[in-house]
């Protein structure tokens, strides 16, 4: 599903070049539940952003679901993101002026699905993460765990092949974190590939495979 070979990525500042990823090779099969671990600065978030087509890479090759992801136009990147990927972020990244159900429905707006249909579907997905009652609340009326569940529902609604989560439990207490991980497990059981970036060992231990990054290479 995700095939990365000899991937390089560096960030240029005015004075020097910071090499973040130095010839990375990663293979993730369809349906896998994988975590990426590493200390801060190890390049794990950069890797996730490249996998999520949110960032570009310098050299090497990245294939997603068989397609070469390189030098895409902004529009194509948006379409691939919309169709293949679902994102969950540490800071939830919900739109504060939209209710839970509208947030969940947002990806379908860009798939040009009618409002009625996408709101109906969004309610179903909210039900799946146990938030049916909260559909019409605004994000700031909900707890962190609830907001993250809304974000997961949003990531799932476009039925992507891959769910990418960047420190999804980083802002949550341990009990809530476990609930979130349980949801990810269910999602994975439904056949989706799940890739989680985390620095928490307990979270990583719940996944099928751990990829350890240090200084831009896998160890």
């Amino acid at each position: 599903m995700i095939s990365i070979s000899n991937l390089y990525k560096s960030y240029k500042t005015d004075y020097n070049t910071l090499e973040v990823l130095k010839g990375l090779d990663v293979e993730i099969e369809e349906g896998e539940f994988v975590s990426i671990m590493g200390s801060s600065g190890s390049g794990k978030s950069t890797l996730l952003n490249i996998v999520g087509i949110l960032d570009e890479y310098d050299s090497g090759e990245y294939r997603l679901s068989g397609r070469l992801i390189k030098d895409l136009s902004q529009k194509d990147a948006a379409i691939y993101r919309n169709e293949l990927l679902g994102f969950v972020f540490q800071s939830f990244n919900l739109l504060n002026f939209k209710s839970a159900v509208e947030n969940v429905a947002l990806p379908l707006y860009y798939k040009k699905i009618s409002r009625k249909e996408r709101l109906k579907l969004a309610e179903e997905y909210l039900d799946r993460v146990g938030l049916k009652e909260w559909a019409h609340h605004l994000p700031n009326q909900m707890s962190g765990g609830q907001q993250q569940r809304v974000a997961i529902a949003r990531a799932l609604i476009s039925d992507p092949k891959v769910i990418l989560a960047d420190e999804p439990t980083g802002a949550l207490d341990s009990v809530t974190s476990q609930e979130i991980i349980d949801i990810f497990k269910e999602v994975n059981n439904d056949g989706k590939t799940v890739l989680i970036v985390t620095h928490e060992k307990e979270i990583a231990d719940d996944t099928d495979r751990i990829i350890l990054l240090r200084d831009g290479v896998i160890i």
Binding site: S45, L54, N82, N93, P107, K111, S114, R115
Partner: protein
């Protein structure tokens, strides 16, 4: 279906950011509102003074006698200069620029005007047929004084609307009726209106020859005036000098004596006002452009802040699959919708106030010499609104395009 969806999304976004929307809207509304008021006030001022000139022909010279201030050919200063019928006929014949010539003569000691038991004091103006062009007299019933009335010294009269209202009821026929002026019956042959000041319609006109024969027995006229057709201010000044020279020769006074006769050049006065208005107009335009510019800057600033404020939202939308074009289109639609609606409301408010002011003035019958009919030019306003909307759009577009280029991950951190 899709468009409906898009607009719903936009209206949703606008309605959930009330402060942001209100700030933008206020900037645009205020700009348009002030512009309408300014243009309206400027036009009102101009219309007001222009209207004062409606009363008289604006291209006319008015001449009346004074007293000599300089000795001339052995004559002492302080001599009164009096015009006679022959003088005005000479002016009419000798000055090429004369288009219509009028004369005026006042009954000495005023005049009591009677009809039956009703007695009023109305000014009686003894004039010739050409006088009507000088005062822009509009005949509403019957006719004005004609040459035959003059030569036959007919005892006829043309009365103003206010005189008619005083002596007669609305439905009463007045033509052929008589009024008594200083003991002599005059037959009414016409009624007139005057668009300028209302007081003009208090006058009673009778043929000047009749007055000379019946009341005084001489051939004096008090005032000579004539219109000059399409003439430039420079040429009208030349005519003025010609008249001075001609009358100086006929009446034996120093051509340089500015007090022997008085000449008032209406065209010159009118042109002075016109250039004054040109100045006001330019001033109003400068202030108007200034307020539009201020509006543009205000709207641009707010748009910049809004897009900055929305960076995170843009990042989130990108992450869930929004194309750059869809985001730019969303920002543009929102800004155009807000500025257009707000600008239109400001425009309506401004026009509403002008309209209210005008109907208030009409209702209270306020006749101001300096303010009248504060109209505005809709074409100008449409352009102003268009400019504001385009500015708002551009001001949103540039930072919007920048925001769209930002990596969504970076944007979401903000």
């Amino acid at each position: 279906m899709l468009d409906y969806d898009k607009w719903q999304e936009i209206i949703d976004s606008i309605s959930k950011h009330k402060l942001r929307t209100a700030l933008t809207a206020f900037g645009v509304s205020w700009g348009m509102f002030m512009l309408v008021l300014l243009l309206g006030a400027g036009n009102g001022l101009r219309n007001g003074v222009n209207h004062n000139f409606l009363d008289d022909a604006v291209n006319s010279l008015w001449i009346w006698g004074g007293s000599t201030s300089k000795p001339y050919k052995g004559l002492q200063p302080g001599r009164r200069i009096i015009f006679h019928n022959e003088d005005y006929k000479t002016v009419e014949a000798s000055i090429g620029a004369v288009e219509h010539l009028g004369v005026r003569y006042w009954l000495r000691g005023g005049a009591q005007v009677k009809r039956g038991n009703e007695v009023f004091d109305y000014p009686v103006r003894c004039v010739n047929p050409g006088h009507r062009y000088l005062e822009n007299t509009i005949i509403t019933e019957g006719r004005f004084i004609n040459d035959h009335d003059m030569s036959s010294a007919a005892k006829i009269t043309v009365i103003g609307q206010l005189v008619r209202d005083a002596f007669f009821t609305k439905d009463e026929a007045v033509i052929g009726q008589y009024i008594n002026i200083k003991g002599i019956d005059f037959k009414i042959v016409g009624v007139y209106l005057d668009e300028g000041q209302e007081n003009e319609m208090r006058n009673i006109y009778i043929p000047v020859y009749t007055a000379q024969k019946v009341f005084e027995g001489d051939d004096i006229v008090d005032q000579i005036m004539f219109t000059m057709g399409d003439i430039s201010v420079e040429n009208s000044a030349l005519v003025e000098a010609d008249v001075q020279r001609l009358l100086a020769e006929r009446l034996n006074f120093d051509p340089e004596d500015k007090q022997a006769i008085y000449i008032s050049n209406d065209l010159e006065e009118y042109m002075k006002f016109q250039s004054f208005f040109q100045a006001i107009k330019i001033f109003v335009w400068i202030v108007g452009l200034g307020s539009i510019l201020a509006g543009m800057i205000g709207v641009s600033n707010i748009m910049l802040i809004i897009v900055k404020d929305r960076t995170k939202e843009i990042g989130i939308r990108k992450a869930v699959g929004a194309t750059p074009a869809s985001i730019i289109s969303m920002i543009l639609h929102e800004s155009v919708l807000i500025t257009a609606v707000a600008g239109f409301l400001g425009l309506c408010a401004g026009i509403g106030i002008l309209w209210g002011l005008e109907s208030l003035m009409t209702a209270l019958e306020i006749e101001s010499e300096f303010f009248r009919n504060p109209e505005v030019n809709f074409g100008v306003l449409a352009w102003a609104l268009f400019t504001l909307v385009v500015t708002g759009a551009l001001a949103g577009l540039i930072p919007g395009m920048k925001a769209v280029r930002i990596n969504p991950v970076e944007a979401m951190k903000g």
